[in-house]
């Protein structure tokens, strides 16, 4: 047990004294359904005045899909009031990953969706359950929410408006 704590202490010290980079979110590169590749650390660092709302979901998660359908219905209207980017992160693994593109196109969703097929970003951000929504602002997580009950999208839009 002592050796494990020693390992952790040494690890943290090493990090503190050696790293010089600016972005502090985990650098996880994910390919979007559109084909574009995003680095989460760069994306989070770029969230200055324009907030980025990131929603973790899966095609098999009914509350996630209900939330995203309701958000999509009002997305353009709300973005016109208070500009923000909206991005979905699908945690579908090899079983359902091939469904994601036809699923979002079939539903007419207009926002970009990143593929997190082995939950790399989900794990790096310590997201235990989906749906899970993050609001990135000024390079930080300004708000996060887990779970969905009807009307949750209204809370999200109110939060965005207030930030």
């Amino acid at each position: 047990m002592k050796s494990k704590f020693f390992f952790l202490v040494m690890m943290f010290n090493f990090i503190m004294y050696t790293s010089q980079a600016q972005e502090n979110f985990p650098s996880v590169k994910l390919k979007a359904v559109s084909g574009k590749v995003y680095d989460f650390a760069e994306m989070a660092f770029s969230s200055k005045d324009t907030m980025i709302v990131v929603s973790f979901w899966a095609t098999w998660c009914i509350p996630c899909v209900t939330e995203l359908e309701n958000i999509n219905d009002e997305l353009e209207e709300k973005q016109a009031i208070r500009p923000f980017k909206f991005i979905g992160v699908a945690i579908d693994d090899a079983r359902t990953a091939s469904r994601v593109k036809p699923f979002i196109k079939g539903k007419g969703w207009k926002f970009e969706v990143l593929m997190d097929n082995n939950s790399e970003l989900k794990r790096a951000l310590n997201i235990t359950d989906v749906p899970h929504v993050l609001i990135l602002k000024d390079g930080k997580i300004a708000y996060r929410h887990t779970g969905y009950i009807a009307g949750e999208e209204d809370n999200l839009f109110e939060t965005i408006k207030g930030l």
């Binding site: 494990k4 390992f7 952790l8 690890m11 943290f12 090493f14 990090i15 503190m16 050696t18 790293s19 010089q20 980079a21 600016q22 972005e23 502090n24 979110f25 985990p26 650098s27 084909g35 098999w60 009914i62 209900t66 219905d73 693994d93 090899a94 079983r95 359902t96 091939s98 469904r99 593109k101 036809p102 699923f103 196109k105 079939g106 539903k107 007419g108 097929n117 082995n118 939950s119 790399e120 794990r123 790096a124 951000l125 310590n126 997201i127 235990t128 359950d129 899970h132 997580i141 708000y143 996060r144 929410h145 887990t146 779970g147 009950i149 009807a150 009307g151 949750e152 209204d154 809370n155």
Partner: protein, 534 residues
């Protein structure tokens, strides 16, 4: 129980405080999560719930990660006090341990991770290390993982390590290499809209486990190879992967020296509000584990062979679920999604969404040839779901499902096949801001097994963040047993607590195509999840 609640509350409060205060001193990003699932068991003869020696089960997971620039490090502590019933196929009782720890350096086109890591090659048919806490699978490798992009058109992954086996490690070593080549970039073809894109890839995985038996030429090292392609042109995509695995005699495949093979081909097409996909997969002898010994496929797996079927959210649909037959199967799955636009005759004011799915799996005619189709049908599922939003307040769902379930293959040889029909209707009504009620009614009709089932579920949210639910799954034909559940949940930002009481039906509990058998149980269930960051 008090100890578990007190510990959970202490961890929750202290970690949130710690994460905020540590943010004042550390420049990097500190984040973590805590998850606890606790069950209390009571005797219930009607459903066959047997009391375990310890009337409580509690699984706890504490994960901490720190990231500063190019460096990250973390650990995961798990406690089973003891593990909840049916969670592990082998006893893992009263243990608390830091089981995962890692250190990672990430540069623009290079990363190296030492410690415990998760990785996947292709579709995972020859290698996937991952965590699924609900099912109880964590087959992280302890060793090193290197990802490098030596050129713009090539990505390489290297793995080396030993696989986690429940709360210990397996006695084998696994090494692997995966390469992905973007053909467009290789030939300098600039990608614009609708430019066809092609990428190809290949993987190798080898597992060495010492053999001390008397069989000549016994394969102590088992090698597996895979080749794949991915082609896209505008709205069309076609991808495939072929896999071959060396002889791997073990208890679970009756000491077979036959090679494993698998072929998976997927195609998708999308246009406007339409999307369709079809996946064909045939395989034989594809069980690949870190150790030859043991009678449970879910202990220390090396690859990922999920059931390619739709995962339903209906209580009745989940009575008959398919599990992939790694010894041999062939079949396909197809999905179609379409939205009738708002303003159209069928779309109405808010649009109408349709999702249809079909899957079928059969035996191989020749168990060594994946290009043959046998006559024995294992499973089929044809279903359609229509979702209609009538106003900003009301939304309804109507679903039909037809299931064929070969219980002789999927459960026990003495069981007869089941043909079942499911009808489900649901409604969500927001009667005031932040106040809603959801109702779902289902019926499963079958002449086989335990006959007909009916279920009802309601969720009531009167003021966010609190919600209540009650459900009942009733077999009114043969057993006359009610599986009732009721409970409440409280959600605040990234913290969720729920408390429930009721009956758990014995059967397969499946998440992401991987299943575990859950014994019947009766009693209280408490769940706490929280995520925190500086």
């Amino acid at each position: 129980m008090k100890f578990i609640v007190a510990t959970s509350a202490f961890v929750l409060v202290s970690m949130n405080t710690f994460s905020q205060s540590i943010g004042q001193y550390l420049k990097g990003h500190f984040n973590g999560s805590y998850e606890n699932y606790t069950q209390q068991y009571m005797k219930d003869d009607e459903i066959g719930a047997v009391l375990p020696q310890d009337r409580f089960g509690s699984n706890g997971f504490l994960k901490l990660d720190y990231n500063y620039g190019k460096f990250s490090a973390g650990m995961q502590m798990e406690s089973y006090l003891p593990a909840i019933l049916g969670y592990f196929p082998l006893p893992v009782n009263n243990q608390t341990k830091i089981i995962n720890k890692y250190f990672k350096y990430t540069d623009n086109r290079f990363s190296v991770q030492v410690g415990d890591f998760y990785e996947q090659f292709g579709n995972g048919l020859i290698f996937r290390s991952y965590e699924n806490r609900q099912i109880g699978i964590n087959n992280a490798l302890e060793g090193f993982n290197v990802n490098v992009e030596p050129t713009k058109f090539m990505k390489l992954k290297v793995i080396y390590g030993r696989t986690r086996k429940l709360m210990e490690y397996s006695n084998s070593m696994t090494r692997g290499l995966d390469a992905d080549i973007n053909v467009n970039q290789l030939f300098g073809i600039k990608v614009k809209d609708n430019t066809p894109e092609l990428s190809i890839g290949g993987s190798y995985v080898g597992r060495y486990q010492e053999y001390t038996g008397a069989v000549d030429n016994f394969p102590a090292t088992v090698n597996a190879y895979a080749g794949r392609f991915d082609f896209s042109a505008g709205d069309f995509n076609l991808n495939g992967e072929y896999v071959q695995k060396g002889a791997d005699p073990m208890l679970l495949n009756n000491q077979s020296f036959e090679k494993g093979k698998a072929l998976q081909i997927n195609s998708t097409f999308t246009k406007n509000n339409f999307g369709a996909t079809v996946t064909l997969r045939a395989l034989t002898n594809m069980l690949f584990k870190a150790e030859r010994e043991g009678e449970f496929a879910s202990v220390a797996p090396l690859n990922f062979v999920p059931a390619l079927t739709k995962q339903h959210d209906y209580l009745t649909s989940n009575i008959y679920v398919y599990g992939a037959q790694v010894k041999g199967e062939t079949g396909l799955q197809s999905d179609v999604y379409y939205t009738f636009k708002s303003g159209s005759a069928l779309g109405g004011k808010y649009g109408t969404k349709i999702a249809a799915n079909f899957s079928i799996y059969q035996s191989l005619a020749d168990s060594f040839d994946i290009f043959t189709i046998g006559k024995k049908k294992y499973f089929s599922d044809a279903n359609i779901e229509i979702k209609k939003k009538w106003s900003k307040k009301l939304e309804t769902t109507l679903a039909f499902q037809n299931i064929f379930y070969n219980a002789a293959v999927l459960q026990s040889a003495a069981n007869q096949s089941v043909i079942a029909h499911v009808v489900a209707v649901g409604a969500l009504y927001k009667f005031a801001p932040k106040k809603s009620v959801r109702v779902k009614l289902e019926h499963l009709a079958t002449k086989q097994d335990n006959g007909n089932w009916a279920s009802a579920l309601t969720e009531f949210s009167f003021s966010s963040p609190i919600a209540f639910y009650a459900s009942d799954l009733y077999n009114y034909d043969v057993t006359k047993v009610h599986y009732y559940n009721l409970g409440a949940s409280y959600t605040k930002n990234a913290t969720r607590f729920s408390l429930g009481f009721g009956r758990q039906r014995a059967g397969l509990f499946c998440v992401g195509g991987v299943c575990r058998f859950v014994p019947a149980s009766y009693g209280f269930t408490a769940t706490l999840t929280t995520s925190f960051a500086n």
